[in-house]
């Protein structure tokens, strides 16, 4: 039992530091309140807030730790060795906690944090449990979720918004139920993912790790290059710029889901703002961000290729328009027009601010993600000069 607990918990140093930080904040809050002559209830209120925020952050970190400790992303040597073992789902992991899913020993850290905030009105214990789950689920998305099962990623992204919205409106049962459902989906995904172990290649899903400097002999390096997409993309040379890289064209579902997600989060963020004045004040800033998205797309496209001739050269040579290049202006311009139209329609029919802004951001995002030309069409058929690595 002790052994299991020891393997599950973070290193004692981290636990000690977390405890120290909590104690320091608590002491600092009390001291500051006393010295500034605040009344005891006021001091305690400030202290509750600090203590609650710190505990929630530690709970989030613990949730993330539980995933990262099992699959240490940056311990490539460990993973390389691990891939050669006959490990199968259900067996304990040789490094860190015994299982990827949460088990009985995981009650210790969240339990202590719950005790710390037991009577805290700002951060009740249920927040701690929620934070652990959010940390765990977010880390799992970063660490293990595969492209083939991106549905879980989308569900989590929508679900976190619902958790935030429900939590802010005091519907803790809905927030916790959402997290439990997401956790159940994650457990199902884990089954499928771990069943396919060992994953193909040395890097497996750790493609983002730059493995080149970490491997020692040439044979390993060449195998790593084969398996690591990021290693290929890191070799930013003229050869890469002209290589026959196949660009994955996503289905129409992805841009639609992404646009809806943007609208959903716009709605959530504007809804959880308590004050109507603050909501009104934050609307222009949000609107600016939404209307800046077309600029972002334009910059993304121009980062691939530059125009065949500049503006003045166009005027002087009479080539005012170059359709093969100028096509990249159309979708951003159209999205701005669509965004403004949706704003005007929303105002006319009297939509609430969150709904109004959410529909605007969804419409702009839909326009930008579905508007032509697609990334690969622009990359391979656009009339641009390729941006060229120079010495």
């Amino acid at each position: 039992m002790i052994k299991t607990i020891r393997r599950t918990l973070p290193r004692p140093l981290f636990l000690f530091l977390a405890g120290l930080i909590l104690a320091l904040f608590a002491f600092h809050g009390l001291l500051l309140g006393y010295m500034s002559g605040q009344t005891i209830p006021s001091v305690l209120q400030t202290n509750d807030r600090i203590e609650g925020i710190c505990s929630a952050i530690f709970a989030l970190m613990y949730g993330g730790y539980r995933v990262f400790a099992v699959f240490p992303t940056f311990h490539l040597r460990y993973f390389k060795w691990f891939s050669t073992t006959p490990w199968r789902r259900g067996m304990p992991f040789p490094h860190g906690p015994l299982h990827l899913h949460l088990y009985w020993a995981d009650i210790i850290v969240p339990g202590i944090l719950c005790l710390v905030v037991w009577n805290n009105p700002v951060c009740p214990p249920v927040f701690i449990l929620g934070a652990v789950l959010i940390g765990y689920l977010a880390a799992y998305q970063l660490e293990l979720n595969t492209e083939s099962r991106s549905g879980l990623g989308w569900a989590s992204a929508f679900g976190f918004g619902l958790v935030l919205l429900a939590g802010a409106q005091g519907m803790m049962w809905l927030a916790m139920s959402t997290l439990v459902v997401l956790y159940a989906l994650t457990l199902w995904d884990q089954r499928l993912t771990l069943d396919t172990f060992p994953w193909k290649g040395i890097g497996g899903k750790w493609d983002r790790v730059d493995v080149l400097p970490k491997l020692e002999d040439a044979a390993d390096r060449s195998a790593a290059i084969r398996d690591s997409k990021s290693a290929r993309s890191n070799i930013r040379t003229p050869f890469t710029a002209l290589a026959p890289k196949k660009v994955k064209e996503g289905s129409i579902k992805e841009p639609i889901t992404l646009s809806l997600l943007l609208g959903w989060w716009t709605y959530v963020l504007l809804t959880i703002i308590d004050s109507e004045d603050l909501r009104r004040a934050s609307t222009p800033a949000l609107l600016l961000i939404v209307l800046a998205l077309p600029t972002f797309r334009f910059l993304l496209y121009t980062s691939i290729g530059r125009p065949p001739i500049g503006f003045w050269a166009r005027l002087r040579t009479g080539n005012i328009t170059i359709p093969g290049y100028d096509q990249i202006f159309l979708t951003p311009l159209a999205s701005v027009v669509v965004g403004i139209t949706v704003l005007w329609v929303g105002k006319t029919i009297g939509l609430s601010i969150p709904l109004h802004m959410a529909s605007c951001s969804t419409a702009v995002a839909l326009c930008l993600t579905l508007g032509p030309p697609s990334g690969s069409v622009w990359l391979y058929t656009g009339r641009h000069h390729i941006r060229w690595p120079t010495s």
Binding site: T237, P238, P244
Partner: protein, 259 residues
């Protein structure tokens, strides 16, 4: 096969290529020659797809560049371009880089590792192959670039000044032999720019002489001599074609000094 059809290219308002057309047959090695700044590198960049010409288009093996994603990918799969000042990732070793470029062109890994070793030996890079490229001399860096182009085994090669960049005599000899072998193969088409007429004379099937953004002449080395009415070296032939008064000026200068 490489077809450049009515290519016009500006740098700003300065025309660099003016309505240039050039056809390189399959299995042919064509050298592009001309004075500095006449548009040799630009012509090759246009052929390679780095630059998009203002007018005209390029066809590689009958496929039109940038006409569709599929065509462009197919062209890229069968074409490699070596830039005159090829940029290299300095922290990567030469061997890693050559293998990685081969991987971009989907060459089988075992074959790739063997071919890489052979290229390393060909260019005498054994001692440096597993060191970061930052520790290489400029000539050694050029050898790595050349190896990276050769490892792709593409049937269409566009090489901008492959013999320049500080290659030592053994490197030039090795490359010349490789180019000769490529020139003899019926399935490899090479378009190459170089300012060294002797090398071109030895390996090129035909030579395109470019001057002031236009193709002045395009023929075999012997044919060019006939056109120029010159029975000297290709060097003199070129001067006679591009700058007929140069030889006269050189004679006048030397006569003046001897007096």
């Amino acid at each position: 096969m490489i077809d450049l059809i009515n290519i016009t290219q500006h740098y700003g308002v300065k025309p660099v290529l003016r309505d240039v057309s050039l056809s390189v047959a399959e299995g042919e090695l064509v050298g592009v020659m001309g004075a500095n700044g006449t548009g040799k590198s630009t012509l090759l960049k246009v052929a390679a797809g780095v630059l998009c010409p203002l007018k005209g288009h390029i066809e590689i093996d009958g496929l039109r560049r940038r006409s569709s994603v599929e065509n462009e990918l197919a062209i890229r799969q069968r074409t490699v371009y070596l830039a005159a000042d090829s940029w290299l990732p300095m922290r990567t070793t030469g061997r890693e880089f050559i293998i990685a470029v081969g991987q971009l062109y989907s060459i089988d890994l075992d074959r790739l590792i063997d071919h890489t070793q052979k290229l390393i030996e060909l260019f005498g890079l054994e001692e440096k192959a597993d060191s970061p490229i930052s520790s290489y001399s400029s000539g050694q860096q050029k050898k790595v670039s050349l190896s990276a182009a050769l490892i792709t085994e593409t049937p269409v090669m566009i090489l901008d000044e492959p013999f320049a960049g500080g290659l030592d005599p053994s490197g030039i000899l090795a490359l010349r032999q490789v180019m000769k072998q490529l020139a003899d193969r019926a399935d490899v088409t090479v378009l190459m720019a170089t300012p060294v007429p002797e090398l071109v004379e030895q390996i090129a099937d035909r030579v395109a002489v470019i001057h002031d953004g236009k193709i002045l002449a395009f023929d075999t080395p012997e044919g060019l001599k006939r056109i120029a009415g010159c029975d000297g070296s290709l060097d003199e032939t070129l001067e006679k074609l591009t700058n007929p008064r140069t030889l006269e000026r050189i004679d006048q200068y030397l006569e003046g000094r001897n007096r």
